[in-house]
Amino acid sequence: MRGKARVNLNTVIVLVFLAICSIGVLYPIVYVVSAAFTPGSSIALDIVPFGSGVTLDHFRYLFKNTNYPIWFRNTFIIAISTSISTVVLASLGAYVFSRFRFTLKKSLMTALLILQIFPSFIGMVAIYVILLRVGGLNTLWGLVLVYVAGNIPYNTWLVKSYIDTIPRSLDEAAIIDGASHFRVYWQIVMPVARPILTFLAIASFTGPWMDFIFPKLVLRSADKQTLALGLFSFVTDKKNQFTVFAAGSLLVAIPFVIFFIATQKLLIESLGASTVKE
């Protein structure tokens, strides 16, 4: 009897602890949801969420009075192009690094590793001038080039260490049968490496959604803005439309949240696997 009572007490303590943590985690989320539906544009939110009624005005405002749809479209184009280019280039490079021996290979790989630790905006003045010289300023492709170049060093490593685990006997057999290197890459290695490539595609797709520095540097005109720039402008620029910001943020965050919750099992597995491999 006493043992059971103690177990129950432990469970209660744990439950209370988890409940307190949940409140802490949910606190800002509840307020941003509430702000998105709160009438008016006050930056001071109600102490009680949803305390002053519910309205859809801010969502209407977003679509009628701002360039929100254009920001969304631009961001989507940038994200999808970055994702596809990153997957193609990183996987090609990873395959070459994993399967071929050539001059300077070790130096190249070490260089990639050192390059990936820099936040790429350290070189932003130079990137600005280079894009100016090649006509890439205020274009979406200019921004994509910057992102892809920044993604390649780390992700080539990531994919390479995965391809290293694929048995070489698979592709050696194909080579003996007369397959070209490209065919081996495309029809043998790529299908086997699909898990890591899916992970990479998702990671490089989500990255550009909320980046701020480079869009600010590269994109100038109103029709080229991205979501991060647009949303940020609601809380600065002396506008202080926090409720509109909340509504816009909610629309971006919801797909992300649904996606993460739906794939949490996969996330745990892939993160767990990445530790064991080291």
């Binding site: 469970t11 988890l18 985690v25 949910l26 800002p28 350290i122 280079i130 767990g272």
Partner: protein
Amino acid sequence: METSISLEPKPADAGGRKKVLIASIVFMGLGHILYLKQYLKGFFLAAVEAVLIAFLPRITKALINLQTLGEPKPHLPIRLRDNSIFMLIDGVVVVAAVAVFIATYIISVRDALTEYDQSRGRTVGIRESINKAFPVLGLAPSIGLIIFFVVVPLVFSACVAFTNYSSPAHIPPNNTVDWVGFDNFRALFGGSKIWTQALGRVALWTLIWGALATATCYFGGMLMAVILKESKIRIAPIFRTIFILPYAIPSVISMLVWQNLLNATFGTINRTLRALGIISVSIPWLGDPTMAKFTAVMINLWAGFPYFMLLISGSMSAIPQDIYEAAEIDGAGKFQVFSKIVFPIVLYQTAPLIIMSFTHNVNNFGAIFFLTGGGPVVPDTTVTSAGGTDILVTWIYNLTVNLNQYHYASVLAVMIFMVLAPIAIFNLQRTKSFREGEL
């Protein structure tokens, strides 16, 4: 088949090999064309060298400009004056291009010799040429992009650290920029009192921030992972789903929301605490330098613990069940099992990611910029633009975007390099593939 040929070179071929070597050195691709009958590759290589020779005058000019960075010509209209920054970047690009050319040259000579040993005289078809060029074609786009958008900008930054590129007197195109040697380093390391103090303060806080942010998120995540696994609560998955939310929400959004909630006067947190009668005076969450640092670490914990929770959950689920059972049979308590078995295994497996997380936090622009904006203002902020919670990267951003003090910003970038590069190399040397020489 090919190997058997190359293993037994006929004595008469020594002269042939030498001819290929000399031809390849004299002009890139010549050996391929004359002796190897690899016309496609040979003409491509020759074209590369021809282009280089055609551009030689411009290359020389760019290199001279890189050395002088232009002359001040105040009498000319602004558009015609020398633009030192364009000269600097063009110079760096040219140096990079020449380096690539030299590497190509070396590779082409080596390739000619290998090809000679393997296939001597046999005509190589276009298909086979392309197939053999696969490693080069596969890497070329990546390397090209990295050189122009990663390496050149970084080298440029490093170069700027040795110039006086700064507002107000040295901003092209109105004025030129000059090489100044180590002047900027001297100014920041003792020469100028206010800048030296600011640098010491920011560098120290960057390291403390990196360590605290990593440690709090790691142990916070571990605590949650262990509790969710060990407590046999049926609704644990619901809690896990809740705890993933901060990881799923883009950090720009969550940090800006926290900034609003934590505002001293209109922020919901202070007003709630006042309404509940817990405090009578508003807490300056982001208004006091020490308090703001504490707040930044706490909010970063909110945003960062889910990553390690997921990571450690994954790592713990990979521990074989029989280890637990064996420990239980031996009479180990739950705490002993954790401290003697689970913790060491998890720590060992996640160590490289802890180091990576540290470098990530040192560079975590968003967690500071969108939450505190670097603030609050401290005595030297008006001159240096470094606020109470600014870390090196946000300070670099301020120096570049607001103050146009590019020269000091670049010195900071060089410093980040000197701190982080050894850590990255150390991390690399621990990995399995490096130790086993598979790299």
